[in-house]
Symmetry: C2
């Protein structure tokens, strides 16, 4: 019953008006990303989502995947929809033309990923993980490995996975037990058990290319002895076609809170043949290529669940007649007013919208940085993009997914009792969104990554890559009366973020627990200020568009109102977050574990 | 796999040290509530919960209820557990001795309700709803009705329900269509469809006493024409035993996000025989007796899910070995440190605990007011209790349940990926908690009830019943250096709440949408300050106990640290909430519905 309509107009606003993609077609790798091409992708992609992928979202939730004798069957319709998606060439959208991709910018891939996730998050994970595995092989593989594995992954004929977690180790991969024993022919025999492997086994592709972390016996202890391996479900014959079953099997699938349409597998490796990807004992480095892209992708998943939940909550709020407006009857010819007349319903809807539109801007900005890392003509530009992206990745992952869950629940609330019933589809968004706070590094880990790694990294340059542009924008626009309503609160919030950063540097240096204790609140401040920066820029553009007399003034007027809502009703949290993080770690650390 | 242990020590601390129940045994109706009796109830009740009721929580979630031909079968073990609960006489704990109850104070009933809900929320709803129906008949029924229905409800042989919602009307009961046609013998024939009827049909009791809202044809329009009826599943024979099936049937049950062990029924009434309860067209008044008690009960459900989720998260956090403390290895003989060494894990746990212990205090305080309304020796005391309770009921309902959901999700987060898997039981707490924000009046409605009804009610006396004691406490303790760390932040937060209240009065008077726009943030401020008031009192007691050299100093020391955490890390939200609510309704109200 829920629907999804791709927010094409908003995508175009962010891509062209905010990020200036329409002016980048002279950049290497951006030649084909013309406004017409982007329109076509968003329109056609959006249609596929609304008509084919989204209608399977509830089916997937209800049926789930089924496991039998090591085989996994996906829900009714998934295979056919995947065939359609694959046949249209969507898998190769931003993949390297050398391996059959269309070579479009990653930023377009991010927009497409948002649409797919909003339509059907469980479904979107099959190609999503393939994309991650593709990226790791593309970056770290030998030419032969790339020729062997990538073309079929780019078509979507084969899918990919990431195998990190084991029953006793998730965050702490140094505890890993899976081992890889070198063979005379240069291959390895992989043995061990991996858990929580999304898309680990299914019936939609001819082969599954597992990327597996394992330890080569005799290597360094802990995380420094971990290597990454390519381990296909089927070994290939001389022509490169899947032929012999490898020593890997899906032992069972998990029964979980949501994303039922995606198989979450226990994978048993027993003398499975694999090939080293990248360098020996440098597996974490290669894995991080996947993980960073995946973390951005997971952030987008969080955003997507808020977006689709918002769209449906709006429809319901306009349709559901219940009670009368407290400021006087609005629709006297009906038995009651639609609930969208109530300020609290509107507050809920605007909270979601102010988040999704701000997050869409930040997410696409991050997508563009991924392109810049690869394609910026000068080294300084590539490095700057890399540093800014490194810094913002944990913020996007954790802030977007915390909000995605919270706001999907907010949208569900607009339905009253009906929101709690499966049939209406709203509670599924909440359950599906919940995993995004956990996988690819639980959000507490993201916060630690931000304060413990990303802030000090590159001698603080990461931070300056974000703080400088914000500061420059504030300085440039501070005196402009038209922009004051947005720039002033941004400047105040930014000052508090700087204060928080200084505090972290000072206290965290002396005692790392101080940084740990403040990390989650600090990350939330960071997310709010980053969205505030996006909103201030978008509000400025909207005002200019209205002065220019652009088409569709309502779009820009709504943008302005939503911007005001963000600054008035969401950004103020920065103040209390600073107070909270400033309180320090004492209350947290002084209790014995037994006192809890 | 999850466990539950009743927090008996904390119950006793709140009941005796904070609320002084041990000094009230000379009050009428409190004679039997001796410390020994309360100990026995908490210990024995807690044992029943841990050993019998809680082990069925996951069973109930997994199996759910099943519907066949109008009959509902509850999950395996529910009937037997209910028999045990009933046989031990728990149903009558705080019921009127005239109808077989034990006549204990309601405040004890609230403690018991928290334990039951924490152990198994879906199970606890069967007796919970019976309790509500009992209270409505007890207050509004004729002597004959009371003699007929109450004794069997007090034993638990019969259960009760509330029938309000219809497919097209939930919040707005004026739209109701169910009709009640008067018969010559003084009874009515009830016809209509009710939805979302919890425990509407099941296999655990000999009869089900439905309280049904319906309209008598020819009566006033809208909500003023609604009456309440007693409509049993089985009509009674001359001896008062269930005999003939009445014209009411369960048409189907809902498939929902959580509380699978409780049947959520569509109830079809077709010429069902019913009897008017209370006055004609005054059904809402009688229904509110149930609803107010039910709203307090739902608040306690929210608290209970946070409590049980906390207990399990603590066990996991002490047990799970993963990574090392960032301030240096804590358990060098193990492959990793338990995750409870990490400040962010501790922050999560303390957030839950600071809420549950504060909420427990406020919830039991509210339970005591229920007793005072009935039993306080002088009228002024009864009135004061009623006014304070009226004011705090929407706060407890909405704030406790919003936090219950949020914090159950926080506890789940401590489990990483395992939290998302059914088997571990953590995600069930989140799903079960989610309904508490919706039923008995969605939380947005609670916020409107607070600002639109409860604040102005009784010429503002409600508010003074809460503000005066807070103010008095602050004045009394402000100069005490020992108390300053708690009283000062309380005083600041209280001042902001007063500011918010003044603002509401001022702006809301001119434009009701202003009150509506601020209502949710205002309610949250209220909840925080109310918990702050409880925490400041508890901290004071804890300090005194430590000076006295009380037994178990660790209990009081932990109380103090948790109090500090609350004041440092949770109460500061009041500041940003005031800023947000002060922004007014403009951004919310100026958009056309079409712009959303």
């Amino acid at each position: 019953m829920p629907v999804y309509n791709a927010p094409v107009k908003d995508f175009k606003f962010v891509l062209n008006d905010l990020l200036g993609l329409d002016k980048m077609t002279n950049m290497p790798g951006f030649e084909d990303a013309t406004p017409d091409m982007i329109d076509a992708i968003l329109e056609e992609g959006g249609k596929l989502m609304s008509e084919v992928i989204q209608p399977l979202n509830q089916v997937g939730d209800k049926e789930g995947c089924t496991w039998k004798d090591g085989e996994v069957t996906t829900p009714t319709g998934f295979k056919e929809a995947y065939d359609e998606y694959r046949a249209a060439g969507w898998m190769g959208l931003d993949a390297d033309p050398e391996y059959g991709g269309q070579g479009l910018p990653h930023v377009i891939g991010i927009a497409f990923a948002e649409m797919m996730s909003a339509a059907n998050m469980a479904f979107g994970m099959y190609p999503g993980l393939t994309h991650g595995a593709y990226a790791a092989i593309h970056k770290h593989g030998t030419d032969e490995q790339k020729q062997t594995w990538l073309p079929k992954m780019v078509t979507g004929d084969w899918t990919g996975t990431m195998n990190l977690t084991e029953p006793h180790c998730g965050t702490d991969l140094g505890l890993m037990r899976t081992k890889a024993v070198p063979q005379d022919d240069g291959s390895y025999k992989i043995t061990g058990t991996k858990i929580f492997i999304s898309a680990g086994e299914h019936d939609m592709a001819d082969n599954i290319v597992h990327l597996v972390l394992a330890k080569i016996p005799g290597g360094p202890e802990g995380i420094k002895g971990v290597s990454l391996f390519i381990v296909p479900k089927f070994l290939l014959d001389a022509d490169g076609n899947p032929a012999t079953r490898n020593g890997v099997e899906c032992g069972s699938i998990e029964h979980k809170m949501g994303i039922h349409g995606n198989s979450t597998c226990v994978m048993n490796y027993e003398d499975a043949t694999g090939w080293l990807l990248g360098e020996k004992h440098k597996g974490m480095r290669a894995m991080f290529t996947m993980m960073n892209a995946a973390r951005l992708g997971v952030g987008i998943q969080g955003l997507s669940q808020a977006e689709v939940a918002y769209q449906n909550a709006v429809i319901y709020a306009k349709d559901r007649l219940q009670g009368r407006s407290i400021s006087g009857v609005k629709e006297p010819d009906k038995p009651a007013d639609p609930i969208i007349v109530h300020p609290d319903i509107r507050r809920n809807l605007l909270m979601i919208r102010a988040f999704t539109e701000g997050a869409r801007a930040l997410g696409l900005w991050a997508g563009l940085q991924v392109d810049m890392v690869e394609k910026h003509p000068d080294e300084e530009g590539r490095r700057a993009a890399d540093e800014a992206l490194s810094l913002l990745t944990p913020v996007i992952k954790a802030y977007f997914t915390d909000m995605g869950f919270e706001l999907a629940a907010t949208a569900m609330q607009c339905y009253g009792g009906h929101g709690y019933i499966h049939e209406w589809g709203m509670e599924q968004f909440v359950r599906d969104a919940r995993i995004t706070q956990i996988y690819e590094g639980a959000n507490g880990i993201q916060a630690l990554d931000l304060v413990g790694r990303k802030l000090p990294q590159n001698m603080g340059r990461n931070l300056r890559q974000f703080f400088h542009p914000v500061d420059a924008f504030i300085q440039e626009n501070m005196m402009d009366q038209e922009q004051k309503e947005f720039v002033l609160p941004l400047a105040k919030a930014f000052a508090k973020l700087q204060q928080g950063t200084a505090l972290l540097g000072e206290k965290g240096m002396k005692n790392p627990d101080e940084a740990g204790a403040a990390s989650t609140e600090y990350l939330r401040m960071f997310g709010l200020v980053a969205l505030g920066f996006m909103w201030a820029q978008m509000a400025k553009i909207a005002k200019e568009k209205l002065v220019e007399g652009a088409d569709d003034p309502q779009f820009y007027e709504t943008k302005l109102v939503t911007a005001r809502f963000f600054f008035e009703r969401m950004l103020p949290d920065v103040s209390s977050l600073l107070v909270k993080m400033s309180a320090g770690s004492k209350t947290m650390m002084e209790l014995d574990a037994e006192a809890f």
